[in-house]
Symmetry: C2
Subunit: 138 residues, 2 copies
DNA sequence: TTGGTGATGCAACTCAATTGCATTCATTTT
DNA sequence: AAAATGAATGCAATTGAGTTGCATCACCAA
């Protein structure tokens, strides 16, 4: 449990408990978004509900964001920019690989403009691209 | 149960039973996508599972498409173009109104181009816009 | 040391989606 | 007309993710 990790949580106004540090550490290692089940498998010592509430807290405090990718399970990934207290400013698209079933955040891909009819008031959008990821393509 | 409806089903190779005709009739009346619960409420005589399987059949035969809009329930709407046997060619975006909670198909809105890195092989994308619909805006 | 607050664990519940199986219905075959 | 066949339907039950309630535990302050 490094000091680094603790400071991340403290900066986000989250009490750095043992479970939370482990969850954060795991999240930092990931290249793709994770599910609650993933977390459960990794941290088998902690209770499922505790992990669930940890994710909820992280999300509320702007540490992670949730992604509904069209599969049956919700995914979670670390936020890129500065998100705080439920205000998520890290809008970006996601890529779901139909081969390895992994979901990747693509913060560098420009979010496309939408030409909606004038009578629709756009507030936000979620874009999930599907296909083959770079790892599976080779 | 008009002849028209029957022919729609027959053209899609679906046996035009009473329940199926009622489901199709209901779908045709809708301006927004529906859920299984909606259908259950409307056709209270038919069993939930029958309605569920009807939707599945319709989807397989290219009569409707399913939409996961990020809410907890799956939505269904009639296909626009010619879709057949699970091959859905009616790619379009969807608009979820945060006020009336309705989900609208927007087949006329151009699907934006994505500038993915070369090492990602894009096959399809799902885009759900969220905001206020034209009915709620007035 | 004690009191209080937040974190955790365990049990139970909700709800959409799904499956198994028996029954009914429609159509064809004998 | 009766029997057989396969599809469609209804009912019961299960799955699995997500969620809530409540008791207990850990930690810090008074
Ligand atoms: Mn992301
Ligand atoms: Mn649609
Ligand atoms: Zn992949
Ligand atoms: Zn609306």
């Amino acid at each position: 449990m490094s000091m680094e990790l603790e400071n991340v949580l403290i900066a986000k106004q989250v009490n750095p408990t043992a479970v939370r540090l482990l969850v954060l550490e795991y999240l930092l290692k990931q290249k793709a978004a994770i599910s609650l089940s993933d977390l459960e498998t990794e941290l088998h010592r902690a209770d499922r509900v505790t992990l669930y509430r940890t994710l909820k807290t992280f999300e509320e405090k702007g540490i992670i964001h949730t992604i509904k990718d069209g599969t049956e399970v919700t995914k979670y990934a670390l936020c890129q920019d500065e998100c705080n207290n439920g205000l998520h400013s890290d809008m970006h698209i996601h890529f779901y690989c139909t081969n390895c079933k992994e979901l990747y955040c693509l913060p560098k891909v420009q979010i496309p403009k939408l030409n909606l009819p004038d009578d629709f008031n756009l507030q936000e959008m979620s874009l999930v691209a599907r296909g083959i990821c770079k790892n599976c393509k080779k």
